[in-house]
Symmetry: C2
């Protein structure tokens, strides 16, 4: 990675525009919280941990620009800013967790100067903690990846998605870095092709051999015995282990079960939603039909075609072999495992 | 359908160029057998039954242009032509079955004039028989589709794919034509998007309500109880019922099993390969990497990305609820069912 995909510059946030990869490595300087909110909505920055980090910086940026020195008025304005930021995307837990932390940090400040300081330092801390968590996840998860493994992964869960080392892709990179001869099967991840555009780009930079496949090739390669494990990230995990992740994850989990292949989820504990018992309560974002009917601007279906475009699906806990967190690897029953982590 | 997707004009074959749909309804007049062979290789015409029909016309066209009046020499030249035609695509059984029939028809002719007549009439007969078979399949299969069903289908199996009424899509059209309120979920079918481009186009023309989904949404909709059955076509079926069909079919079958949803294959008996006991022996075509890395000319992955592109996968017989043929609906054990059809 030549530069960081997310970099705080004191008065603005610099991000690598993920919508322009792999054709172009273009960085955007975002000086207003609204710019960060738009960048999240438009997927210029995406991936649950990275969204959380950028949302925290958005709150900090928004706070820095509030002019009133009246504490109550300041906090009221800040809550308005937070509403805008949380309205960007509904599914990733990290977004909500990060802004809740930011609000608590603000509320602990005695005056607006200290609140502003606290907001910046809290955002920087969230970023550092998430980055550290992905490093730890990668280290722990790499122990599950055997030498010579063919590892199937979905969507993008690397540095781009986490503003750190990566979750699922971090595990893969770490295992490869340990000298294990890893082969990766990367699903392209329609509709927005995060696998083809972003994971392929990261794996190429990392020098890890990989084969890009369409999403529906996963079953083909599993049936031929060419997949040793599946590892994916997560957008939100309920207390029972049910996991919302990029659309297509559920299908991979069903296929893995059919073939007796381990299916791992790698996610920081900030992705757990301790207010939800089950995955069915996780809100699923429905995105624009054009993401399906147009690929990089080119129409692929007749005008007027009706389209579904849920961005996530829910993988039930019983299909998940283990969840790799920065505090340890947990298995069924996940509720218990999660309590033990705390 | 404004015109036939495949039309014999006596001295040439007119086909609807499927690579230009849905943007353009462009017809091509193919006057040489090599043109038809290229059209098959380049997927201007595709779908196992349609490939069989066009291959038969290619043999006829090739035969008409042979100049020698020496019977043995004629047959030798014809076999050369047939080799070119069978080298186009390896998986669809109908291609091989059709040219074998054409060769037998030629060999039965006493002189080159009669052979030429026989070639044309045999090709026309193959076309008529395949078209009639798809009509019968549609009629029989429609009985499996309940009123109000939400039917998931993959790739394109309609008039375009069959030079007739359609196999899986024929069943859907017939059920809708019987007044049943059918909703269709059509997978886009990466890499070449036959679902988004062709099935959407056919369903729109037929006025049947449908929703286009990416391939990996199938599991999502099944898990929500929104799929009542899956119906697909076939490229080649072994004696035990193992079915080669468009890549992604196997995944749909595994998902259908997981959700207890009937999984139907609709195919004319010409798709059965009576020389193969099991699906594992069916040759799977590997197509160009560019079909994955470029979508309608636009690059979607970094330069140099390694890609897999098998065009078909094998669905084992035990995942198939029933196979709908023009001679009847057969179920496990398929070998027995097939013998009873004959």
């Amino acid at each position: 990675m030549p530069k960081e995909p997310v970099e705080w510059l004191g008065d603005r946030l610099r991000i690598l525009d993920q919508t322009r990869l792999p054709q172009e490595e273009a960085y955007l300087d975002l000086g207003r919280y609204q710019d960060i909110a738009s960048a999240i909505t438009e997927l210029k920055i995406r991936g649950a941990p990275a969204i959380g980090v950028c949302a925290a910086y958005a709150v900090a940026l928004g706070g820095l620009k509030i002019e009133t020195r009246a504490r109550a008025e300041f906090l009221k304005e800040l809550r308005g800013i937070i509403r805008t930021i949380t309205a960007t995307r509904p599914t990733a837990r990290n977004l909500f967790g990060a802004v809740e932390r930011m609000l608590r940090a603000a509320e602990a400040g005695r005056d607006t100067d200290r609140i502003k300081e606290a907001l910046v330092s809290e955002a920087v801390k969230i970023h550092a903690e998430e980055a550290a968590a992905t490093g730890k996840i990668s280290q722990l998860g790499a122990g599950l990846i055997g030498d010579g493994f063919s590892v199937l992964t979905h969507c993008n869960t690397g540095a781009l998605a986490t503003a750190g080392y990566g979750t699922a892709l971090g595990v893969i990179k770490k295992a490869a870095g340990q000298g294990k001869k890893i082969k990766v099967l990367a699903t392209e991840t329609r509709p927005l092709l995060q696998g083809a555009r972003l994971t392929a780009w990261e794996l190429m930079k990392a020098g890890i051999p990989f084969t890009l496949i369409t999403d529906s090739m996963a079953g083909y390669f599993m049936s031929r015995g060419e997949v040793d494990c599946v590892i994916v990230g997560a957008a939100r995990i309920a207390l029972n282990g049910d996991t919302a992740n990029k659309l297509g994850t559920y299908t991979l989990a069903v296929l893995a079960k059919e073939h007796g292949i381990p299916f791992y989820v790698a996610a920081p504990t900030t992705t757990f939603d301790t207010t939800l018992d089950k995955g069915i309560d996780i809100p699923i974002e429905e995105r624009s039909p054009e993401e399906v009917t147009r690929i990089q601007g080119v129409a692929i279906a007749p005008e007027g075609t009706r389209v579904a475009n849920p961005a996530f699906d829910i993988t039930p806990h019983h299909l998940i072999t283990a969840i790799i967190t920065e505090r340890g690897i947990i298995r069924e029953p996940y509720g218990e495992g999660l309590r033990e982590l705390k």
